[in-house]
């Protein structure tokens, strides 16, 4: 067995090792924490790490994690995006507005992770309030792409994606409103899933756009993503929009069988604007699936072109309302110079929010304001219905839709910072899927110019199983999921367990 750090093992591999007694949760968590120490100064994936708590948690699972009755994530190191509430731990949503805020409660997904035995490592960096596509909008500095530190990891869940890619977390959670899980997943070369709207509880997720936000998994392979989703998915009485549908056994449903699967390549996703290297890699991926027995045909979603403007009205509108509570009264930043109420609000928000957040709040307020509501917000919702219907119709003819995740590979830090509109365009293939409310996954499908490319597979509502399965089939037929960024190269034998026996070359 090649010398490999526990930090680079998948969750399933760790579970195996635990079961065979060849590694312990303490060892695994320590390896990941050491990796964090080694790479995070350059990566800046994390905003908060609680080393002591993680090691204490891990120790509790030593000897128990490998047993048959152990919960599914026992002793597995997991990171959470910093817009997910973790009781007693700082939760900033990447914003100075919430610097120092420690929620008195856990998000539902946090509770489920704990109950599943996961060892929580810390909170990862993100674009402020999840608004952004590069993690450059974080109030605490950007995260760097592990494949090229001069480049963005994508956003808004850049920290989680980078951490998993670099072995600085085995699994991580992010959130996706317009592509914020899939796009960083693609840019960092990891598996990243946005579920059907309502599949995972939003209780405890710091809201950006309520009708679009979903929490989802980052992992190094599909089986791991399926394992994590199985833990966090399912109805939550505390979230009125969470679906009262049973959760299938995702990990158990991975057969890799795709013969007869009807796949539709979305014509509008291969048009102008997509980088040639990306298009090639994605088309090649379609070819692999065809080779495995799926049928690939073209499908048109004519209203996909309207998804962007509709999204950039609906999401900011909801955000403008969701972020109104950040006003210096109960929690978070408060301006020091406030003689009257108006100033308290206006100056606190001026000081606490970054430019992108302010931009979106104003855009959203505008779209909802008297005289503009019908022309903007109402109209955008009507177009959303059109898009939803279009996807539903396409997903009757096809079992899955296929396309790229992002038009380019990861761009350079600072490259798009001056032009918000340019930044928005990097979500052009992911946004329609959020508006439609259906699941979409990003799976590593090769490289262009040395940087990872993500394949997007889109499924029917609540059919994550089919999405996982096709992704799994593709993954197993290609080597891409084993690639690791140079940053994550294992330091010489940090793990040398005598229990495994034999030597490693």
């Amino acid at each position: 067995m090649a010398s490999r750090s526990l930090a680079d093992c998948t969750a399933w591999e760790l579970r195996d090792l635990y079961a065979r007694g060849e590694a312990s949760p303490s060892e695994a968590v320590r390896a990941v924490l050491d990796r964090i120490d080694a790479v995070d100064p350059a990566l800046h994936a994390y905003l908060y790490v609680d080393r002591e708590a993680a090691l204490l948690d891990a120790a509790r699972w030593d000897g128990r994690a490998g047993r048959d009755d152990a919960p599914p994530l026992a002793g597995i190191p997991v990171a959470l995006k910093d817009n997910i509430c973790t009781r007693g731990w700082p939760t900033t949503a990447g914003s100075r507005m919430l610097e120092g805020f420690r929620p008195p409660y856990d998000a539902t997904v946090t509770v489920r992770l704990r109950e599943a035995g996961a060892v929580l490592l810390g909170k990862t960096n993100c674009d402020e309030f999840a608004m952004g596509s590069s993690t450059e909008n974080s109030g605490f500095g950007p995260t760097h792409n592990p494949w090229d530190l001069a480049r963005v990891p994508g956003g808004s869940s850049g920290g989680s994606a980078a951490a998993v890619a670099a072995g600085a977390a085995t699994l991580a959670l992010g959130s996706d409103t317009g592509g914020s899980i899939r796009q960083p997943g693609a840019h960092c070369g990891v598996v990243a899933l946005k579920t059907t709207y309502g599949r995972v509880s939003r209780y405890g997720l710091i809201a950006f756009a309520s009708s679009l936000d979903q929490i989802g998994p980052f992992a190094r392979d599909v089986r791991d993503a399926a394992l994590l989703l199985g833990v966090i998915a399912g109805h939550d009485p505390a979230d009125s929009t969470s679906a009262p549908r049973p959760v299938p056994a995702y990990a158990g449903g991975l057969t890799g069988e795709v013969r007869g699967l009807r796949i539709g390549l979305v014509r509008e996703f291969f048009g102008e604007g997509i980088a040639p290297g990306v298009a090639d890699a994605v088309r090649a991926a379609a070819g692999v699936l065809a080779g495995l027995g799926a049928t690939c045909d073209e499908v048109s979603l004519p209203h996909a072109a309207y998804a962007m403007p509709a999204y950039y009205i609906i999401a900011p509108a909801e955000a403008s309302s969701n972020l109104a509570r950040y006003a210096g009264v109960q929690y978070g930043h408060r301006t020091e110079h406030a003689e009257d109420l108006y100033t308290l609000y206006a100056r606190t928000r001026r000081e606490g929010f970054g430019a992108e957040v302010k931009r979106r709040i104003m855009l959203g307020t505008f779209a909802l304001s008297s005289g503009y509501y019908d022309a903007y917000y109402l109209r955008a919702q009507r177009v959303r219905t059109l898009i939803r219907r279009e996807f539903a119709a396409a997903l009757e003819r096809f079992d899955l839709l296929l396309g790229p995740v992002a038009p380019t590979t990861a761009f350079r830090i600072g490259e798009k910072a001056e032009d918000p509109l340019q930044m928005y365009l990097s979500d052009v293939y992911t946004i329609p899927v959020n508006l439609a409310g259906v699941p979409g996954i990003s799976v590593p499908c090769g490289f262009a110019g040395g940087l990872p490319v993500g394949l997007q597979l889109i499924g029917r509502a609540f059919d994550e199983a089919a999405v996982f399965n096709a992704a799994f089939a593709y993954e197993q037929a290609t080597p891409h999921h084993t690639a690791r960024p140079p940053l994550a190269a294992s330091p010489p034998s940090s793990w040398d367990s005598p229990r495994a026996g034999g030597s490693r070359a």
């Binding site: 009125s240 309207y306 009205i313 009264v329 931009r359 918000p420």
Partner: protein
């Protein structure tokens, strides 16, 4: 595309204090974003509704704002434990006698 007065009004509604520079910068940026939306605004939605459809497109104004088809999510009227006061005030920028403190508010504002 969007004038300074509107930006000032929107900033006020949003409780965002902006400098003159910022206001101008946002005005330009918002303007170009809104211009990008023209295609959406120009889209002819009238002919898009299949017959008998109760969608907003049929013009009866029913809004399809909800992302899913769930209805009637209700909870039973039972009392659950509250947060301890120290948790409630733990993140407060300013508190006094168990209350949050804000600048004086004129009644009826």
């Amino acid at each position: 595309m969007i004038d300074d007065r509107t930006v000032a009004h929107v900033a006020r509604l949003s409780r965002l204090e902006l400098s003159d520079d910022e206001r101008e910068r946002f005005r330009a940026q918002l303007g170009s974003i809104l211009e990008h939306f023209q295609s959406l605004l120009a889209l002819d939605l009238a002919g898009e509704a299949p017959p008998g459809d109760l969608s907003p497109l049929a013009g009866n104004g029913r809004l399809d704002a909800h992302a899913s088809e769930i209805t009637n999510v209700l909870r039973e009227d039972t009392v659950q434990p509250c947060l301890p006061l120290e948790d409630v005030l733990a993140n407060a920028p300013a508190s006094e006698d168990g209350c949050f403190v804000v600048p004086p508010v004129i009644e009826g504002e």
